[in-house]
């Protein structure tokens, strides 16, 4: 790990210099919300914003894309039409989300579509100011040590810049004049202070300790039915979750033709058709069963498999769910055996 120092006023010049590598994307204001958008310069970005509506997974794994073109002779892989992008302003929770996606899409079998986009995307992280919905302190994802190319921590007077990959180092080498390794005692104290300050900023009341056991004990709890009464099965939680990776595949064909495309698009286990098989049997007919799958996956099953939750505490389910079902309210309801208002 290499940590460098950069003057805050130099960031704009640095981003200008690296734009040759690919399109620059960053968080921008959209009314009251924030979304990643293509930008020309730092001035168009909103670095104080907390969470974007959709996590950066959409760049590595688009909501809908074509996997194959087909005709009567067979299926031809569609790759190669992906632009090179630099994503600036990714927060630690979202980098952790991408690390979980890496595990799903690049280990065991390699997903060529994800791999191509991952390769053509540079991740430039940026420190953040927690709000009342941030829960990364509870999922141990409030700081990040890997997964990014560069990570900028704003220490008011200057940036500390983590170099996380060889490609990140290449970016630094495009403007070596803007970085220094001259780290003084005060810089170190400044950083320790920053960590203490960030940790003190969290306001959300959430505690995921012991959740795998609580899930096991509460498997048949009526709390699930009460939650299901409220749930609309709209699937927004999956769309905004940085670790939701489920997808559906459809063949799109022109009427009266046998040429077409095989497309892949985001799916949600909250949808009724999710576990439906040919012949009409549905393995998760009840809404409670589908809710249970979603939350069991995030806070029990994944922990059993990988030792950490598949929740990065980004707070998007908190800010998105229209009926207030989210990792915080569900874990609280299961622990207290009562669904809050």
């Amino acid at each position: 790990m290499m940590i460098l120092k950069m003057k805050k006023e130099d960031l704009s010049a640095f981003l200008e210099s690296i734009k040759d590598w690919g399109e620059l994307w960053g968080p921008t204001k959209k009314g009251e919300k924030v979304a990643f958008d293509k930008v020309d310069s730092l001035s168009q970005m909103d670095l104080k914003a907390t969470r974007t509506i959709i996590p950066p997974k959409k760049f590595l794994y688009p909501p809908r894309f074509t996997m194959f073109d087909f005709d009567e002779n067979g299926y031809v892989e569609r790759t190669g039409d992906v632009p090179k992008r630099i994503l600036f302003g990714i927060h630690p929770c979202d980098v952790h989300g991408i690390l979980i996606m890496d595990k799903l899409f690049l280990e065991t079998y390699k997903d060529p579509y994800y791999a191509e986009r991952r390769e053509k995307t540079l991740l430039l992280g940026h420190s953040c100011i927690p709000d009342d919905k941030c829960m990364c302190f509870a999922t141990d994802t409030d700081f990040v040590a890997e997964g990014f190319d560069l990570f900028f921590t704003d220490l008011k007077m200057f940036y500390l810049v983590w170099v996380g990959s060889s490609r990140g180092h290449d970016l630094v080498r495009m403007r070596p004049d803007l970085f220094s390794r001259d780290l003084q005692k005060d810089d170190i104290l400044n950083y320790t202070e920053y960590r203490k300050w960030k940790t003190s900023q969290f306001k959300a009341e959430v505690d995921f300790t012991g959740m795998p056991d609580v899930f096991e004990l509460a498997y048949d709890s009526p709390v699930w039915d009460e939650l299901a009464e409220k749930c609309l099965s709209c699937g927004q939680c999956s769309m905004v979750c940085p670790t939701c990776n489920c997808y559906n595949v459809v063949d799109d064909v022109e009427l009266g033709s046998i040429e077409g495309t095989r497309d892949r698009y985001w799916d949600s286990c909250m949808f009724r058709e999710y576990s439906l098989v040919a012949g009409g049997h549905n393995f998760r007919e009840k809404r409670a069963d589908r809710l249970k799958l979603w939350y069991t996956h995030k806070l029990q099953a994944y922990i059993g498999e990988f030792g950490e939750p598949a929740c990065v505490g980004c707070g998007r389910c908190v800010s998105t769910c229209p009926v207030d079902i989210n990792v915080a309210t569900v874990s609280k309801a299961l622990k207290e055996q009562e669904v809050g208002k």
């Binding site: 890496d102 690049l106 079998y109 997964g147 990776n245 064909v253 046998i258 012949g279 069963d289 099953a301």
Partner: protein, 300 residues
């Protein structure tokens, strides 16, 4: 720094795991009123020799313009070069496939899934219990064992169907009764033909015919409708077959076959890579399944 591409199996790194290869249907005939039997061969002959699989594994089959779905393999890897599978009309994709004829091509990728643990089953007595369409994946196991007969102990095949006309591979299994290296017991719920020479009644009635069983030394493979599991498992546990030696193959919705699309998840397991073959001991821990197909009464 995390490595970007880790491949744990021996697949080539550059392979697209979703790429279907084109296969030609070389033989097709009806097994029952609504189930057709297919034999397919790769258009590219080199592919035919490369394809290897285990009994219990499955393929993803694509019909141009219709989509893709998982199907179990009915042929045995001990007779390479050709794949056999059974298609029942169940939805739009199988409806189209059902109507396809010899010389038409379909896309196939795979094989996927764990398959039956053949290395553990070697040297053991084997009991295979099929109900209805469950015969499709179990035929692969049965033929594999018959082709490697000296590697296994006693072999018993039990098969139940609703009526004689609905029994998959009826003629083939009737012929197996002539062989002296396995016990083949067939039954139907109801004989509406008047010509049925075998048993009538549910598949569990056949347990009476089994004779002495060396339970500790027996592996059982079961596949059939949920209601059959319920009663068969009760009997097997009573017979003293260890729960980790009772093998079941599960069906789930699948879009990828490689543990990525999420649909076949059962708690922390994916049916496509951790299954579709699970032991009864595994299944007892799947709370989603207990109380559905498999009753909790079986636990007691």
């Amino acid at each position: 720094m995390k490595k970007l591409c880790v491949v744990l199996d021996d697949r080539e790194v550059e392979d697209n795991p979703y790429q279907p290869d084109m296969w030609r249907i070389v033989r097709r005939y009806p097994l029952t009123k609504d189930v057709n039997f297919y034999q397919a061969r790769p258009v590219d002959m080199d592919e035919a020799l490369r394809m290897s699989y285990l009994p219990g594994q499955f393929i993803m089959a694509s019909i141009i313009g219709e989509g893709e779905a998982p199907f179990s393999i009915s042929s045995t890897p001990s007779r390479p070069g050709i794949l056999e599978f059974c298609i029942r009309k169940a939805g739009t994709l199988t409806e189209t496939l059902f109507g396809m004829k010899e010389n038409q091509t379909i896309g196939i990728r795979g094989p996927y899934g764990n398959g039956f643990p053949m290395d553990k089953m070697e040297g053991k007595d084997i009991m295979i219990i099929a109900g209805g369409l469950g015969a499709a994946p179990l035929r692969s196991l049965l033929l594999y064992i018959l082709d490697n007969r000296d590697k296994f102990g006693k072999l018993t095949y039990l098969h139940g169907a609703r009526t004689p006309d609905e029994m998959l591979f009826r003629e083939e299994f009737m012929q197996l009764k002539e062989r002296d290296d396995l016990k083949c017991l067939l039954t139907v719920d109801k004989d509406d033909t008047g010509k049925w020479t075998e048993k009538v009644g549910v598949v569990t009635n056949l347990f009476k015919e089994l004779g002495p069983i060396d339970a500790e030394n027996t592996f059982v493979a079961v596949c059939g409708p949920p209601i059959m599991y319920k009663f068969v498992l009760q009997h097997l546990v009573k017979l003293g077959i260890p729960k980790h030696q009772i093998l079941m193959t599960l069906e789930r919705r699948m879009k990828c076959g490689v543990g990525m699309c999420g649909h076949c998840a059962i708690e922390y397991l994916y049916t496509c890579i951790d299954g579709p073959v699970f032991t009864y001991w595994d299944v007892l821990h799947m709370k989603e399944i207990i109380g559905r197909g498999v009753s909790d009464k079986v636990i007691a």
